[in-house]
Every structure is written in C-alpha cells, then in structure tokens.
C-alpha cells in the first residue's frame, strides 16, 4: 500500500466511525455535528480520488447547506439541550435491516457495474470543473434540465409545507 492508499483508508474509517456516532449519540445537536465530520471525511476521500470538483461540492452542499438544514430542523422541532433519553425507536432493528439491504444493493451495483472500470489517478485536472462541464453539457443535458424541475418541486413543496395560510 502506498501513502495515498493509507490516507484513503483512514478517511474511510473516519467517515464510517463518525456516521456510527451520528446514530448512536444521545445528543441531537452532536449528531448533526458528527455528520459534518463524516461528510468532511467523505470530501477528503473524493479529493484522494482526484475528483476535486465533487469534493468541494460535497463541502459546499453537504457540510454547508444540508447540515444547516438539519440544525434548523432540530431547532424547529424539539429545541433539546443536553441528552435526550427517548431517542431509541422501537423500529431500529427494521431500520438496520433496511440500511443493510440498501448498502447491499448499492455495493452490488457498484461492484458489478464498475469492477473493470479503472481511471488513472495521475492525469492532471481530470476531476476539475471543465471535464465535468464538458460531459454535463455534451451528454447529460436532459438529466441536468430535469434536475431543475426536481429542485423547483422541492422548493414549492417546502414553501407549501411551512406556510399554513396557503
């Protein structure tokens, strides 16, 4: 194993460990903050795979926006401070089964689909914004436009849900 492999594995361990802490911690706010660590380690993993644009998108969207959204959700609903005793749900074994099944499907798809696909890590700038833009605006234009409709639907849905008088 090279140094890069070691760093990549360590980042993976940090990401998984922080993710386990997210679901096991007794303090809801700490769960959101552990999620920052997990997402940050994931961004580091993307960086190690030379996908630098994806890594900074991970930092901007997940570490920045999604965690802010989660913290807002916590602040809006229960306003807890300190430990919460009633965080364990009776459904947690079902949740564990669903999580394992989802992970199984994802890993199987990835392994079967990309087992023989190799990308060299020593090409300069392959994960930057420009190659991504070339592929999005040459090949994946329709999914890109459909995404805007998805964002619109989510935006309208959030407004409708949060405003009672509409």
């Amino acid at each position: 194993m090279t140094t890069l492999d070691v760093v990549f594995v360590l980042l993976g361990v940090v990401a998984v460990g922080a993710a386990v802490l997210v679901v096991t911690t007794r303090q809801l706010v700490h769960a959101a903050l552990w999620l920052v660590v997990s997402f940050g380690a994931l961004a580091g993993g993307y960086l190690m795979l030379t996908a630098e644009f994806v890594a900074w998108v991970q930092v901007l969207i997940y570490v920045g926006a999604v965690v802010v959204l989660l913290l807002f959700g916590i602040m809006l609903t229960r306003a807890p401070i300190g430990r919460s005793a009633d965080l364990d749900s009776g459904n947690r074994w079902a949740a564990l089964a669903v999580a394992l099944a989802t992970a199984g499907v994802l890993v199987t798809v990835l392994v079967r689909g990309f087992r023989t696909a190799y990308a060299p890590l020593d090409v300069a700038g392959q994960g930057a914004a420009k190659p991504l833009g070339e592929s999005v605006f040459r090949i994946w234009v329709l999914p890109f436009e459909v995404l805007s409709v998805l964002l619109l639907a989510a935006l309208v849905g959030a407004i409708v849900l949060s405003r009672r008088e509409i």
């Binding site: 969207i61 802010v68 809006l76 070339e134 890109f144 436009e145 935006l155 509409i166």
Partner: protein, 123 residues
C-alpha cells in the same frame, strides 16, 4: 507524487498551520492568564445585562424556508461552475447558453412563487 497531490499537500499543511495558530493563541493565553473564576464571571455575557432564560430557544418555521432556499441555490451555483468553464468553447456556444437559462428559468419560477407567497419578506 504528481502535482495534484502535491498541491493538496500544500493546502493540508496550510490548514494545519491555521489550526496551529488558533490553538497556539488560545493555549498560550490559557498558560499566561490568571485563573480566578467567580459566579458572576462565569455567567453568559449578554451586553452587560444579566441573561434571561436559557440559550436555547425554538425558532420560527419560516426561517426554515431561508435555509431551504440556500440549499436550492447552492445546488444551482454548483452547476454554474462547470458551465462557466465550457460555454465559450468551440462546439458549445448559444445552445449551452440557452440550456443554462432554461435551468435558471425553472428555479426563477420557484423564486417568483416564493416571492408571491411573501416567503421572502423579512418579518
């Protein structure tokens, strides 16, 4: 080690250096300062007035929409970066320009809806 990893090693060292400056400043402060806490000194500083209630309060649900708008427009901004690097290149041109404006148009419709429902007015 190629230039990509070398560049990010520099970024990493810079991050460590920044963390070291903050930790060194606070740590040096802690070593040098006298430490005589009293009840009054340990209360939360709130403009020199005694604090009222707890530091944790529920917030209004309307602020959630602002956080949500931020998420939507962060996603939107993320797509502007790859677009900005290619739209002037040979073989893209007005079509790519139009595609981005279709994308922005959909989101602008959402923003117009939010404005129409007076979500954006600060209360």
């Amino acid at each position: 080690m190629n230039t990509y990893f070398h560049d990010y090693l520099v970024v990493f060292v810079l991050v460590l250096l920044g963390a070291g400056i903050v930790a060194g400043g606070l740590g040096g402060n802690r070593l040098l300062r006298p430490h005589r806490p009293t009840r009054e000194k340990l209360t939360t500083y709130e403009c020199g007035v005694d604090p009222v209630g707890e530091g944790w309060a529920q917030s209004y649900v309307r602020y959630y929409v602002f956080a949500y708008l931020y998420v939507v427009f962060a996603v939107d901004a993320v797509f502007l970066f790859p677009w900005a690097t290619v739209f002037a290149l040979k073989g893209y041109g007005p079509t790519t320009l139009g595609e981005m404006f279709v994308f922005l148009g959909f989101l602008a419709a959402g923003l117009a809806y939010a404005a129409k429902k007076k979500v954006l007015s600060w209360v």
